[in-house]
């Protein structure tokens, strides 16, 4: 069974600070995805990383996929209260199959004004 460990589980910081969330696995994933989930809604995809060492930027968010495709990180620069939410990493299977995603347990992020 593939597992994804996310850390930290909870993070509360002040507006303007930087933060990094980590997602680690002992297994190789064909892709790694980051989702954000708001209360009462389903997860919404932020980014997919596929290539080892890949870095993607989405405004103040920077996503990195480890060289061995077993780990990923999400870095937020100058966090804002609107960044508050549950961040989930998820690993995709190989071969383009129909297996579902393997999710980490999430990081609850609170940005205080």
């Amino acid at each position: 069974t593939q597992l994804l460990e996310q850390s930290p589980q909870f993070l509360s910081i002040q507006e303007g600070e930087n933060l990094t969330v980590y997602c680690n696995s002992s297994s190789v994933f064909s892709s790694l995805q980051w989702y954000r989930q708001e209360p009462g809604e389903g997860p919404v995809l932020l980014v997919t990383v596929v290539t080892g060492g890949e870095v993607k930027k989405l405004k103040r968010l920077t996503f990195q996929f480890g060289d061995a495709r077993k780990d990923s990180s999400l870095h937020i620069t100058a966090a804002q209260p609107g960044d508050t939410g549950l961040y989930l990493c998820a690993g995709g299977d190989s071969g383009g199959g129909a297996d579902g995603l393997t999710f980490g347990k999430g990081t609850h992020l609170i940005i205080q004004p």
Binding site: L45, D99, H108
Partner: protein, 111 residues
Amino acid sequence: DTAVSQTPKYLVTQMGNDKSIKCEQNLGHDTMYWYKQDSKKFLKIMFSYNNKELIINETVPNRFSPKSPDKAHLNLHINSLELGDSAVYFCASSQVGKRQYFGPGTRLTVT
């Protein structure tokens, strides 16, 4: 123009009852999924359904059964509900191997 919709949004029922949750997608996707999110927000795949092929997570009790009347629908039927079934259930869809789109979730409370 909702992409993935689920009904009902909330479902409160007693132990032992049988209930169904409906899911519809209008994205023309060929694969649909059911996930369960527990009280600690951990999301876990239950089923995926692609071209009449059902892939089941082996940890899912056989009281849970997905039913797909057509390619755009994947309903979840639950027999003999138990307290531990209380959770938020999410439906999702995708083209096989591509990005998944999630529905808004159904919060099931078993009393």
